[in-house]
């Protein structure tokens, strides 16, 4: 009799477990919650979680709520690989994150082998050039953003020489290589090429090098915290040369950390919480109300990734990871179709995203959009 009861309980438990699994869709977030990438990672995570709560509140995707546990890569490629493997062991529908290019380069091979689409915030150019059909960006890769930046350097500020400071990791090196090619095409001289380390805190000597190069502009291309330290040090050393950058140095987190030393910095951003677009402003208000801080571009990356998956899945009408990856190639999502996408976005055959972008300047502690640049495909 006891055995019968036990058997019944086990069957009931298994049935309930199966029912729960069927009611949810597993989309784990593997992201930088600590380490040098924490600023980017926590923004991405918070944006994604906000979107997931919104989607779940409206009944989920095709009637199934999103189950999205967060695991921390500690900004360590080795740990990120282990976390992606752990996520894959749970049979995910798709994976969100990470943001750091060095981690993505290591772990995307696992998702590719498992044929699970991975939506990343990483920007290193080569990520989408390695023949991986399962990787999708939620922001510009460097091969999309640096040409826009080069036009800004040549025509916007009319610089003929640039001093370039970069972080010696996959993100920094990828950006440096693409930018240097773009500068060579335009005969703009690179008069200082200063490599720095991730997590570096003392930039006194690096700023001395940049200053002594007497360039028309100083280009800062490091991760967020380092950008803030560079700007503080530049102010300490009385740098008068215009400081420019792509995305990070003009991100809201850097502005918050650098304080008034970020004033006047200009550059290009693929995404900004201050974009003059009502949907983005509504997102920013919601985000700020929920998390009590102003999101940066990574917050938008995480948010739109969830809605991209939702829209594509609803278009498919079923949960099929391979079909999702196939559908994403060449897919355009418009805000009229899916308001959560915020701005019209198109994914190409390599998984790169194309959409409008912005030239901004830091004014009174916020990004001020100076110009809206069209999609490259238009």
């Amino acid at each position: 009799m006891k055995a019968n009861w036990l058997g019944a309980a086990l069957i009931l438990g298994a049935a309930l477990g199966t029912a729960h699994a069927q009611q949810t869709v597993f989309i784990p977030i593997v992201i930088e919650v600590s380490g040098s990438g924490a600023v980017s990672g926590t923004n991405f995570r918070d944006g994604a979680l906000m979107a997931i709560d919104e989607v779940n509140a409206k009944g989920g995707i095709l009637g199934r709520k999103i189950n999205a546990p967060v695991s921390d890569t500690q900004t360590n490629p080795g740990i990120s690989r282990a976390q992606v493997q752990k996520a894959l062991d749970g049979n995910p529908y798709a994976i969100l994150g990470p943001v750091f290019s060095g981690s993505v380069k290591v772990n995307m091979l696992l998702a590719q082998a498992a044929e699970i689409p991975q939506f990343t915030g990483a920007e290193a150019a080569e990520i989408t050039q390695m023949g991986n059909d399962y990787i999708f960006r939620t922001s510009f890769g460097q091969q999309m953003s640096m040409p826009k930046m080069a036009v800004f350097v040549a025509d916007g500020i009319k610089a003929r020489s640039v001093a370039f400071l970069w972080v010696n990791n996959d993100y920094g090196k990828g950006g440096r290589d693409v930018f240097f090619k773009e500068m060579a095409k335009r005969n703009i001289k690179i008069v200082a090429d200063v490599s720095t380390e991730a997590g570096q805190v003392d930039f006194a000597a690096d700023i001395v090098k940049l200053k002594s190069a007497n360039a028309d502009a100083i280009f800062i291309y490091t991760n967020e915290e380092e950008c803030a330290r560079v700007l503080r040090e530049a102010r300490k050393q009385g740098v008068k040369t215009p400081i420019i950058g792509e995305t990070n140095v003009i991100s809201q987190k850097v502005i918050d950390l650098a304080g008034d030393t970020a004033e006047g910095v200009r550059g290009h951003v693929g995404l900004t919480a201050d974009a003059p677009i009502p949907a983005v402003q509504a997102f920013t208000d919601k985000f700020q109300k929920r998390y009590k801080y102003v999101p940066d571009h990574n917050g938008i990356k995480g948010y739109t990734a969830v809605y991209a998956i939702k829209h594509a899945t609803e278009k498919l009408g079923k949960f099929d990871s391979k079909a999702l990856a196939k559908l994403m190639k060449g897919l355009t999502i418009k805000p009229e179709q899916e308001p959560g996408i915020l701005m019209e976005a198109t994914w190409d055959a390599k998984g790169d995203i194309d959409r409008i972008s912005f030239l901004v300047e830091v004014v009174k502690g916020r990004q001020k959009v100076v110009e809206v640049l069209p999609k490259l495909g238009k």
């Binding site: 924490a38 380390e197 001395v208 915290e225 040090e233 102010r235 950390l257």
Partner: protein
């Protein structure tokens, strides 16, 4: 160094000791709603309590009697505890820390010097001067030195050795708090800051001389100058290696440090 001289304490959490007071201040401002000056005062008092009194009573006193090695391992554990504690309970991200002085610069003979740098140098010079005066010219300071040189003889002479050791821990706590308040506006407050600061402090102390306060000062200055000159005029990629080359050279040719004195110990 002070701790080593008075109580044979090697503190491998010294870097985290410098990282932590900045978070005491930020927490006082965030959760206590205090103004920056009031939070600085609270930060200093909490540092004296936690990094001075409690560190001695709860970590050093019970463990040191088992030898120096268990204490070394304990302070390594303490460093991890502080680091992970800040990450877990405050933030994993870097935090802005207010400066003492507005961001103005002076140009002296063509060189731009920020007011912030001058304040830091000034505070550091005053702190070292006060410390030297206290140790060399006051009765308590001389008693602390006597304790450092020979605790047994100091006890015979009626010096309250335990109290002198406690004072040393409190002085150490005050100095790390001061360092934290000075360096955090530039480096930003982050839970990992201790790794770098701790390593730099140890290298500076060994290069200068582990048993001399002025040795540590010279070691620190030398290290800072070498590090920045190498990064600015030679190679920023290899900047981290040069202080270690210096360390190896000192250990090979002058193990007592540049200004240290050789000590004999019974083994």
């Amino acid at each position: 160094m002070l701790l080593w001289q008075t109580s044979q304490t090697i503190n491998f959490a010294q870097g985290e000791f410098v990282m932590l007071p900045a978070f005491f201040v930020l927490a006082a401002m965030k959760f206590g709603g205090l103004s920056f000056p009031a939070a600085l005062l609270v930060g200093m008092l909490v540092a004296l309590l936690v990094l001075g009194l409690l560190f001695k009573r709860l970590v050093v006193d019970p463990i040191l009697r088992h030898g120096v090695l268990p204490l070394v391992i304990s302070t390594l554990g303490l460093a991890i505890f502080f680091k992970e504690g800040v990450k877990e309970f405050y933030a994993a991200e870097a935090q802005g820390f207010p400066g003492f002085w507005p961001a103005t610069n002076f140009t002296i003979f063509g060189a731009v010097i920020s007011a912030q740098s001058l304040v830091i140098i000034g505070v550091a010079v005053v702190a070292v001067g006060v410390l030297q005066y206290f140790l060399g010219r006051t009765r308590t300071g001389r008693q602390m030195q006597a304790t450092a040189q020979n605790p047994t003889l100091a006890r015979v002479l009626g010096i309250p050795v335990e109290r002198m050791i406690l004072y040393t821990f409190l002085v150490n706590a005050a100095l790390v708090a001061l360092a934290s308040f000075l360096v955090s506006p530039i480096y930003l407050a982050k839970f990992t800051n201790g790794e770098l600061l701790g390593l730099a402090a140890f290298v500076a102390a060994i290069v200068g001389g582990f048993n001399q306060v002025r040795g540590a000062i010279v070691g620190g200055l030398l290290l800072g100058i070498v590090d920045n000159l190498v990064a600015a005029y030679w190679s920023s990629q290899y900047r981290a290696a040069f202080p270690l080359f210096l360390l190896i050279a000192v250990i090979l040719w002058r193990p007592q440090g540049l200004l240290g004195r050789a000590e004999e110990r019974t083994v």
